[in-house]
């Protein structure tokens, strides 16, 4: 793996939460390199720190120790507004519970990141229309989330997460609230995005979903216990084929 390919470089990342008197080490000494375009499943039991890892990767949370490079830039100690800018430009979030704004239509929900980024109205309209079309939501543009099915809601959420064309897509249990068939559809969508070059990181309990990723990172008690990438003989060759 060359430096140019590396999207994410985590070195000695630690994160401790303080709950009253007790300390909880959510992450300890995490070293993780992720190349541009990888498809990674982060798995592990509840409380293993996988969500915390995802939050740090998405700059929603900051590590207490260690250094985080995103696309060659040290983002460990960015100010809150700088973090927001990086999130806006480079990171897309997909949540288990969709997190759609209930009073806004599907189109308006998809438009949110564009609006927050201050993109011009006509450009926004164009991109939203394209996104609605890409995710088969043309007929649902004016519907509110409560008028959409679970799969449609998650499609809206994915459209929203990708409308800013991020390099990094973070999905926290994306199929957790969906039945198997709809879940399958959603995963196919995510994988299609990955095939277009978006780095996809999925946090999941679901073994079957995790197994579909090309690289599995297993976590327990705040540490990485296994990483299939380190088993690969030639990492660089594997990445080059993407």
């Amino acid at each position: 793996m060359t430096d140019a390919d590396t999207l994410i470089r985590l070195a000695d990342i630690g994160r401790t939460f303080y709950l009253g008197d007790s300390q909880v080490q959510a992450l300890r000494d995490i070293d993780l390199n992720i190349a541009q375009g990888e498809y990674i499943a982060v798995m592990g039991p509840s409380g293993s720190g996988k969500s915390t890892l995802l939050n740090i990767l998405g700059l929603l949370d900051s590590a207490d120790t260690g250094i985080y490079h995103l696309a060659g830039r040290d983002v460990t100690t960015l100010a809150a507004d700088e973090q927001a800018r990086v999130r806006s430009e480079s990171v897309g979030f997909i949540f288990q519970s969709f997190h759609l704004v209930p009073r806004l239509t599907a189109a308006a929900n998809i438009e949110l990141p564009l609006m927050l980024a201050g993109i011009a109205l006509d450009e926004r309209a164009r991109r939203v229309k394209q996104a609605l079309h890409d995710y088969g939501l043309d007929a649902r543009a004016a519907h509110r989330p409560n008028e959409l099915s679970g799969g449609q809601r998650q499609r809206v959420a994915i459209a929203r997460a990708t409308v800013m064309r991020p390099t990094l897509l973070l999905a926290d249990e994306p199929t957790g609230n969906l039945d198997r068939v709809t879940g399958e559809e959603v995963v196919n969508l995510l994988e299609a995005l990955n095939a277009q070059g978006v780095t996809l990181i999925v946090v999941t309990h679901d073994q079957a979903l995790g197994a579909r990723a090309r690289r599995q990172v297993k976590m327990d008690d705040g540490a990485i216990v296994s990483d299939t990438a380190s088993n690969l003989a030639v990492k660089a060759a594997g990445n080059a084929s993407l």
């Binding site: 949110l112 990141p113 609006m115 927050l116």
Partner: protein
């Protein structure tokens, strides 16, 4: 984030919970409406009193018999009775003073007016030709009294509008004769409707020459002497000269009171302005209450929309952007309340004017502006705390809330 987007998002958020928004707008509008209406009342009272006084005439100096105060104006001055008579020759002497433009002696009494078999009790005013100009009286028919014929066999009378319609109906009364007390008068003019002053409407008066009135009432005493100064600047010099002249004519005794209408007006104006300001202050309290309500509701809204705030942050909203969203929402609610309140206030004032047509209940501009800006300020100040709370929310915890 663009300001227009912030505004749009905030307004959707407000529309998104209509009951909450309606209640808030109602609370704020009641505050603004009460400021508008109460100041309309206060300012209306001020205007009413000032109009009442200024309709007596401009640059007016009034001489009253008797003295109850050594200085300044006292309402009692207007009703004191006299120890020494004020006479027509006093009035004539005043006309010769410099700076004096017109002088009108005044006798007032009630009298029975008879014409064409109808009888009516009216206010009798005895005065001279200058009275019309002094009091800005308008005539609808004929002419006012002249100074040429004094105490002739059939002296002239000018009728108030109401007296004319009551006695003559639609008929032209000019040249007809009416009987006032035991004397016959020839109608030469009719006053236009609507004039008033000092609580006396000029609709229900009959105006006759002063000499004739004095003869009828069997008196030499004048009720007032009205003097018009040449200009506003002349009011005070004229006052001093009038006082000096009358004292000289009354054997050195200061037994009259001279009031400059201007001074009275200014004092009243000041007092009533302060009163209106006080009323506005009381009404403004309701605005502060509405502001606190805005804060409460916005705080609840922040709590309810925690997940949304977390989402916005995850999508790249800066703390400032989140803060602005909530501040704009609070402001929007306040503005909506202010606009509705303004409308309600004007409506209420119009209703007051409809109920009491003579009462000029117009809200003063300063009160309207003050009410609006206090509403906005309240929205802004009380919107800051919830907005800051929203902006400070931890994105992860916010997102983990379902």
């Amino acid at each position: 984030m663009r300001a227009s987007d912030t505004l749009r998002f905030a307004s959707y958020a407000a529309i998104g919970s209509p009951v909450r928004t309606l209640l808030l707008v109602l609370a704020m509008s009641i505050g603004v409406a009460s400021v508008v209406m109460l100041t309309a009342l206060g300012d209306g009272a001020r205007r009413y009193v000032v109009d009442e006084f200024s309709s007596i005439g401009t640059n007016l100096v009034v001489v009253l018999p008797g003295r109850s105060e050594t200085r300044g104006f006292n309402p009692a001055n207007l009703v004191t009775s006299t120890p020494r008579d004020l006479t027509v020759s006093d009035a004539e002497a005043l006309l010769r003073l410099s700076g004096v433009k017109r002088v009108a002696p005044l006798v007032v009494a009630t009298a029975e007016v008879k014409a064409a078999g109808k009888l009516r009790e009216s206010i009798l005013i005895g005065t001279n030709a200058d009275y019309a100009q002094l009091r800005n009286l308008k005539l609808s028919l004929g002419r006012f009294l002249t100074n040429t014929e004094r105490g002739g066999s059939s002296p002239e009378v000018v009728l108030g509008a109401l007296v004319r319609t009551e006695l003559f109906g639609a008929h032209n009364p000019i040249g007809k004769s009416v009987r006032i007390g035991d004397r016959k008068y020839r109608v030469v003019g009719v006053l236009a409707e609507g004039g008033r002053g000092m609580g006396i409407t000029s609709n229900d008066v009959v105006i006759v020459p002063i000499v004739s009135a004095q003869a009828m009432l069997n008196t030499n005493t004048l009720f007032r002497i009205l003097i018009e100064a040449n200009s506003r600047e002349q009011i005070n010099p004229v006052k001093a000269r009038v006082l000096k002249t009358i004292i000289a004519r009354h054997e050195g005794e200061e037994d009259i009171t001279v009031i400059a209408q201007d001074a009275v007006l200014q004092t009243l104006d000041k007092i009533l302005n302060v009163l209106t300001l006080g009323i506005a202050g009381i009404a403004a309290i309701s605005l502060a209450v509405a502001g606190i309500l805005v804060m409460n509701v916005m705080l609840v809204s922040v709590t309810q929309r925690t997940a949304e705030i977390g989402l916005l942050k995850a999508l790249g909203a800066t703390t400032d952007a989140v803060q602005q969203l909530f501040l704009f929402e609070a402001l929007l609610l306040s503005v909506a309340g202010a606009v509705v309140g303004l409308w309600l206030g004007y409506l209420g004032s119009a209703f007051l004017r409809y109920l009491y047509p003579t009462f000029p209940a117009y809200p003063p501009l300063w009160a309207v502006l003050a009410g609006l800006s206090i509403a906005l300020l309240a929205g802004l100040i009380f919107g800051v705390i919830p907005a800051r709370r929203a902006a400070r929310l931890d994105a992860i915890q916010a997102l983990s809330k379902k």
